[in-house]
């Protein structure tokens, strides 16, 4: 019996993607997941521009992780200029990144993922029966957005971040209020964990390596080595290990680690950094690991557990953000104007952990401060091959079921990765000498 399944418009994901699946005699004969977003060629658009314009342009790669692209661009440029930002600048960047992770995870968990598990077509359709749950989502999103607004002045495409510091610093009062808000929404994060622990997830083991940054003394955000169970390398070596290639059917590049697919994102981070979780996040993790029905192990290779990892990260991010607020409350915010940096030619790389995984930015600038080369690798580009191969591997388990059921399960699998096709699509092949 021959079946073909074509999903032309996969809903409840960021951006546009489609899947072509062919099944013959109980075997998957074709499995192609492709981004159908138009290409926007950001790496070409920043060429010829001054280095302090890069982040304002690359921010537009993605709405939901705009802070990520802003921060990565700035950090890569600073790396090229061999400039080290102050500790305060770094802390504020962490705070903004944490805020983004909170709102992004909350949006994904409740608006994109949860309806699948509760049997609704959308979060809005759940509104009458699950009003309290939706309120958790909105509270978390509000808190995340507020964090970004306090630090970056605007919640989408933040504006205050700059190469060399911050154009505007938050006031002590803002930090105090932010902390109050964070303490108040912590219960929403804990409830999110408990809710997602009760859902039932398919049993499935992906054969992917789980990569994330691993920091020395904190749960990975803005620094660390790119690490899996097998290897670890620092950001300077990324082009030796990671290869990008194009497929004729997709506007996104695929990325492999020395020919092998790999997974990035919350689950990889949890696998590699669980020792650095906050106290309460560790409690949540323990609860999850002891839950027999959930059947979660560390390290987990079940992509559906990415939902669990995101929920646990919500608790951790709030705790970490409260900790940062505490240090600002104690030490105050120093009036640090943006540093004037001596322009020099060079190449710089940034690798940071953003909601969907590790994000890479690399720029070369000339002695006038003009960008001459740029390369960006987004988390979804790194996950893309993995999602596709997981589908290929997973479908035989359910091949005798109805077409609708198969589609539902595949969509669940795709969504559990929280892919962002807006992010993945718009990149061009960069030729490096």
């Amino acid at each position: 019996m021959e079946k073909t399944i074509t999903l032309n418009h996969i809903t409840k994901i960021e951006g546009h993607a489609k899947l072509a699946l062919g099944i013959k005699h109980g075997k998957v004969t074709k499995c192609e997941l492709s981004s159908t977003e138009g290409s926007r060629y950001f790496e070409g658009l920043v060429l010829g521009r001054h280095y302090n314009e890069a982040h304002e342009i690359t921010s537009r790669i993605c709405g939901i992780c705009s802070c990520a692209h802003v921060t990565a661009a700035i950090m890569a440029i600073e790396d090229a200029l061999q400039y080290t930002p102050t500790e305060q600048t770094k802390q504020l960047r962490r705070l903004m990144t944490l805020g983004e992770r909170i709102r992004s995870h909350a949006t994904h968990l409740y608006f994109l993922s949860l309806p699948d598990y509760l049997g609704y077509e959308s979060a809005l359709a759940m509104a009458s029966e699950y009003k309290a749950e939706l309120q958790h989502a909105l509270n978390l999103i509000r808190a995340g957005n507020n964090m970004i607004k306090v630090v970056g002045a605007r919640d989408l495409h933040p504006v205050s971040a700059a190469v060399g510091g911050w154009l505007k610093l938050p006031s002590q009062q803002q930090i105090v209020e932010l902390k109050k808000l964070l303490i108040a929404v912590k219960k929403d994060a804990v409830k999110t964990c408990k809710l997602f622990f009760t859902l039932s997830y398919p049993k499935f083991e992906s054969k992917a390596e789980c990569f994330s940054l691993v920091g020395k003394n904190r749960y990975a955000i803005l620094d660390g080595w790119f690490t899996s169970e097998k290897v670890s390398f620092n950001k300077q070596q990324y082009r030796r290990f990671l290869q990008e290639y194009q497929s004729s059917s997709s506007t996104a590049n695929f990325v492999v680690r020395e020919g092998h697919r790999y997974m990035v994102g919350a689950l990889s981070r949890l696998n590699n950094n669980s020792g650095h979780l906050s106290k309460d996040a560790k409690k949540m993790l323990k609860l999850a690991l002891n839950d027999k029905k959930l059947d979660m192990k560390l390290n987990s290779h079940n992509p559906y557990m990415n939902n669990i990892a995101q929920a646990i990260e919500l608790v951790h991010c709030i705790d970490h953000a409260i900790e940062i607020c505490n240090t600002f409350e104690e030490n105050g915010i120093r009036n640090e104007p943006v540093d004037k940096i001596r322009v020099r030619a060079g190449t710089g790389i940034a690798a940071i952990e953003v909601p969907r995984g590790t994000l890479w930015h690399e720029y070369t600038i000339n002695d006038k401060g003009i960008i001459t080369k740029a390369n960006i690798i987004t988390p979804t580009a790194q996950n893309l091959l993995n999602i596709q191969e997981d589908i290929r591997q997973f479908v035989p388990n359910i091949i005798n079921k109805k077409k609708e059921y198969i589609i539902e399960q595949i969509e669940k699998l795709i969504r559990s990765y929280d892919p962002c096709f807006s992010c993945s699509a718009h990149f061009l092949e960069v030729k490096w000498e």
């Binding site: 138009g38 926007r40 060629y41 304002e56 537009r60 993605c62 939901i64 077509e121």
Partner: protein, 274 residues
């Protein structure tokens, strides 16, 4: 002629309270930021969606039937053949088409590609399947008529709320026509031009509450030029502050290049008069 941001006046029959508007939120090539700007109205979103009959929102809804809409809010620009087909279908299916955000309204940063070196990206353009082939990146009003614009990258979240509230009671939302400077003054910001920064506030349509300048960042003009902008004077001011033609041209074209077709001539004239 500058098309933006002009809201067209149209007569509509008053909508009965019981007869909610059929509304769709769609996206073509873009960053999803404008659609998020709808959802990220955390306090109002649930009540807001009560005011309308939300028929389609593929970003957060599974079922999005192709039907007739009263209003379609569209994010994104036309960058592929498929984008164009989607746009034309939505235009045909909707009484009113609302251009949501800068990509739809001006082409935003992706359309800046018209002004960058072709060699920066050209080597990539011809490798793909025909269906995925790129079109010249263009705002949606290049291809179809647009009834309303909610400009900005990202659009002001509050403006989206008040827009939906207005149409729900049968009112016509009006565009904000004063330059960014008006709101900036109200917010007691120090003028960034006075500090020598290349702020485009004087020629840019406001409605954004001068959010960038509040954050210490100069205006890049994302909401598009005001109807009565004085481009000559703006260029003169920037040149007095030491910015050269290339910088001015690049900066002004980053978000709204296609809406400033006169820029090259004005710059040329300014060179002649110096």
């Amino acid at each position: 002629m500058i098309k933006l941001p002009i809201y067209k006046k149209k007569k509509v029959n008053k909508i009965k309270k019981t007869d909610k508007l059929k509304v769709g939120f769609y996206g073509i090539t873009g960053c999803a930021g404008c659609l998020l700007s709808v959802i990220f109205n955390e306090d109002e979103i649930l009540d807001l969606l009560e005011l309308i009959d939300l028929k389609a929102f593929p970003f957060i809804k599974q079922f999005n039937p192709d039907e007739k809409f009263d209003y379609v809010f569209l994010e994104g620009l036309v960058a592929t053949k498929e984008d164009l087909e989607t746009l034309q279908k939505l235009r045909n299916n909707s009484r009113y088409l609302v251009s949501l955000g800068a990509c739809a309204s001006t082409g935003c940063i992706p359309a800046y590609r018209h002004y960058t070196l072709k060699e920066n990206y050209e080597h990539l353009l011809f490798k793909k399947k025909a269906a995925l082939q790129d079109l010249e990146p263009t705002p949606i009003d290049t291809h179809v008529s647009v009834d309303y614009y909610i400009p900005g990258c990202p659009p002001n979240k509050k403006e989206i709320v008040s827009f939906i509230k207005s149409i729900a009671i049968g009112k016509h939302p009006r565009p904000y026509e004063s330059p960014v400077c008006v709101e900036c003054r109200k917010n007691n910001n120090q003028c960034l031009l006075d500090l020598g920064k290349p702020c485009l506030g004087p020629i840019t349509a406001g409605g954004c509450e001068s959010v960038c300048i509040n954050g210490g960042f100069e205006c890049w003009g994302c909401r598009g030029p005001t109807k009565d902008m004085n481009l000559e004077l703006m260029i003169k001011i920037l040149k007095q502050r030491g910015f050269d033609d290339k910088f001015i041209q690049d900066r002004m074209r980053t978000f709204v290049g296609l809406k400033l077709p006169m820029l090259e001539n004005v710059l040329k004239k300014s060179r002649e008069t110096v």
